[in-house]
């Protein structure tokens, strides 16, 4: 890439270092403040996440999944990550995704999940009501 071709398309990260060649073919660095091609790539990643969050929300409202699935998607987490942070086994978490099991969870377990998702235990327990009122 030539120095004068560095894209300046204003991305989220701000100024980034690019390696480019000058008019004599010598390598130097230049600053790019974003490139449309990769801004769109990041948009795709976030719209995929948004889609998963909406699906989880729908499942929560339909009583097909517990609030844990919704917050897990919201925090871009998967079972191994939730397991690593909470110390639960993946099979336990998979059970906690069922509304019937979730409703019987101990205060201590609710507390652990709420901490990970950065919400209060009440917000976790009542997520369905809160989301359906929005």
């Amino acid at each position: 890439m030539k120095k004068e071709d560095i894209p300046q398309d204003k991305g989220a990260l701000g100024n980034e270092v690019s390696y480019v060649v000058d008019e004599n073919g010598k390598y130097t660095t230049g600053i790019s403040n974003g490139w449309d091609v990769k801004i769109k790539a990041l948009d795709v990643a976030w719209s995929d996440i948004e889609k998963k969050v909406n699906e989880a929300k729908q499942k929560l409202l339909n009583d097909e999944a517990s609030p844990i699935l919704y917050f897990m998607e919201l925090k871009i987490m998967d079972l191994p990550i939730v397991a690593a942070y909470t110390g639960f086994w993946q099979w336990q978490i998979r059970r906690h995704l069922k509304p019937s099991v979730f409703n019987r969870l101990s205060e201590k377990k609710i507390q652990q999940y709420a901490e990970l998702f950065e919400i209060t235990p009440g917000e976790l327990r009542n997520a369905k009501q809160i989301l359906s009122n929005r």
Binding site: L13, Y27, V37, K38, Y85
Partner: protein, 339 residues
């Protein structure tokens, strides 16, 4: 206290940490391209049985941690690298290092990194930064991705040092153990080692999904994505490929431009004329990677949707594979002239 430390922005975090730390510890000659080349940073791999954020696991560079490790080893600089079980001990040891007047690097996760824009905060745990001071409860951070120094509270730093999930850092702390200058002879020898190892990794690595064969493997996969994954998922896969190639501090063109810069800088130490021409070949390869990214963006923006568009993308990668194969073969010959 804030140590006397020169912050420098780099394209990639590990290159940047390696360069700034080694400079601080007395290696005046080191630059980002030299660290990248000596650490044999250029690579390609598509791990077929693994997923990252639900997409393909593709990398344009060597494994995290290798650039620092190899560069220090080649330059005969002893390093300390330590993981911790206790969060408290991890902090005490960092503080002790700072109190001794020396900066130290940490591996961290970016999800909870407070100064990163939200759009970039995925659960990626192999980010690197240097801690250069502490004032009250705040750590002063030289993060090579950032333009200036930033800071984090002790809680925030603890949280990113103990991020969980794949490649969890476990509080990892690392730094050169002594301050010592390096001779130009040592740099010369390290360049040769770095190039030889990179030639081996790209041309001769076993299996079909890494090195040059990995690029061809990916090319063939892309041609099949439209049928096997459907339009929507293949768009996400292509976007992920482009993010790995351009987004994660690669300096553009999937690190190919940094490697081109490395070969030019290597020429200053080894006057082997072929180096300059091979550098141009890597520049062209990087340009073609960017052309391929433009083609991919046509697909994930929804402008291109036909099988022939995927075929075209795959063919571009096959062409790149041939370009890089030729360049590395010439490099394998040229390195023999470098004494």
């Amino acid at each position: 206290m804030k140590l006397d430390f020169t912050h420098a922005q780099a394209a990639h975090c590990e290159n940047g940490v390696t360069t700034s730390l080694l400079r601080h510890y007395g290696v005046q000659q080191i630059t980002e391209p030299l660290a990248f080349g000596i650490g044999s940073g250029l690579f390609f791999i598509y791990i077929p049985f693994m997923k990252v954020n639900g997409g393909p696991a593709i990398s344009f560079r060597t494994m995290p941690g290798m650039i620092f490790k190899r560069t220090c080893k080649s330059l005969n600089i002893p390093i300390l690298r330590k993981k911790f079980l206790s969060e408290e001990k991890a902090q005490l040891e960092l503080d002790a290092r700072l109190n001794a007047g020396e900066p130290a690097a940490c591996q961290v996760g970016v999800y909870y990194l407070p100064y990163f824009p939200r759009e970039y905060r995925f659960h990626f745990n192999a980010h690197n930064l240097i801690v250069v001071g502490k004032e009250a409860d705040n750590y002063i951070i030289s993060d090579p991705i950032m333009e200036t120094l930033v800071s984090m509270s002790s809680y925030e730093l603890k949280r990113v040092r103990f991020a969980k999930g794949p490649l969890a850092p476990h509080g990892q702390l690392y730094y050169p153990r002594e301050r010592k200058p390096v001779t130009n002879e040592q740099i010369k020898a390290a360049i040769v080692t770095g190039i030889k190892r990179n030639v081996r990794d790209m041309l001769h690595i076993p299996g079909n999904f890494a090195g040059i064969s990995g690029i061809k493997y990916t090319a063939k996969k892309i041609k099949k994505w439209r049928d096997s994954l459907g339009l929507e998922k293949s768009r996400s896969y292509l976007a992920q490929l482009v993010r790995m190639q351009e987004e994660i501090g690669t300096g553009g063109g999937g690190f190919r431009f940094i490697y081109g810069a490395f070969l030019q800088q290597a020429y200053a130490y080894h006057q082997v004329d072929e180096l300059m021409d091979i550098s141009r070949q890597f520049t062209r390869a990087g340009d073609r990677w960017r052309d391929a990214a433009v083609q991919a963006s046509g697909i994930y923006k929804g402008r291109l949707a036909l099988q022939q568009d995927y075929n075209h993308m795959g063919d571009m990668l096959l062409e790149i594979a041939d370009m890089e194969k030729a360049a590395f073969k010439e490099l394998a010959v040229a390195v023999k002239k470098m004494k």
